[in-house]
Point group: C2
Chain length 199, copies 2
């Protein structure tokens, strides 16, 4: 039955997505995924021949979900879109505090084990990077849009990593507030009049 097949496959991807995020790719076993979906390990291989295939499907799923999120954010103006991004670390605060950034932690893990899907994971970063650069360009900062995008991305990554390590809510809120203030000054100020390259 095609419908059932599609549904079970989607359940596997959803469960694997969550477990890879919470416990890491390598640390998540077939047994753990099978138990989460409530199917046998054998049935598993009807849908995915290898563990790497599941990972590829999970990354595809995350790419699609991220594109959909960015699409929803386009309801705001460019400055509001960037603020939506900046606020992720607050919006998803509890998850990030427990498990870190889903993009950063996956990319790092796959790099350490030299996994073939590493470039696909980096593409998640690239998606945010290019989308942020577009917003800065729309705000009249086309000349250094990519640099500004990377700056926002880097600080968000750092906030996520330290939130994960220290579990300090105040720190996250403080950094996000500061980054939003920075954003406001970056947008309004002409290029020659800044306190630093990014300000």
């Amino acid at each position: 039955m095609v419908d059932k097949s599609v549904a079970t496959r989607a359940q596997i991807v959803t469960a694997a997505d969550r477990l890879f995020y919470q416990h890491g790719f390598e640390h998540t076993s077939f047994t753990a995924i099978a138990e989460a979906v409530r199917i046998s390990r054998g049935n598993f291989y009807y849908y995915f021949k290898t563990k790497d295939e599941i990972l590829a499907a999970v990354i595809e799923e995350r790419l699609a979900a991220t594109r959909e999120m960015l699409r929803r954010w386009e309801a705001s103006d460019p400055a509001g879109r960037i603020r939506s991004f900046i606020r992720i670390v607050v919006t998803n605060g509890p998850d990030i505090q427990r498990y870190g950034c889903p993009v950063g932690t996956l990319t790092t893990e796959l790099a350490k084990v030299e996994h073939p899907s590493r470039p696909a994971a980096v593409a998640l970063f690239t998606l945010f990077r290019e989308w942020l650069a577009e917003q800065f360009t729309a705000l009249g900062r086309g000349a250094d849009a990519d640099a500004l995008a990377l700056h926002v991305l880097a600080l968000s990554q750092g906030i996520a990593t330290l939130s994960h390590a220290f579990g300090d809510d105040d720190f996250v809120r403080r950094e996000v507030a500061s980054l939003e203030t920075w954003l406001a000054t970056v947008i309004d100020r002409p290029e020659g009049n800044r306190c630093s390259s990014f300000c």
Copy 2:
């Protein structure tokens, strides 16, 4: 022979340190460490009863090495010390591009697998955090020294993560230059006159 025992043990810790950094703790097997030190797997257990014991020794070693590095930096004035920290991502640029930040990647991995040594790894972060806060206090920013320390730590983490993901040298240099400029303004400026909470 005690001397030999000490030397072999140190070699194991050094090799494990490097391999844990390059390939991750879980992905590094006893076999890999034993081959690196050129001893048999059996001999291995004469020095360490479990893999977790090696990890604990590696973290202790990293803590000691970090304290020693911070001690050397004390030859500079407080502002110079903070600049030494900021420049790590350039000084260790190639390693960080390949393997990420040794502190951040280890802490994240241990959290995902809920490893008992996770708090010890976080202590590495705390060491930098408190040392940075001391320097900001010495610069007359005692009121928000910890917040400033966390800010520098967070941005450095983010730079390391993106350097690892994208392998972009220019980005790293740009961010470090910007952070150094920021540092100069933060030190000189009275508390009321800033373009953002940190500037």
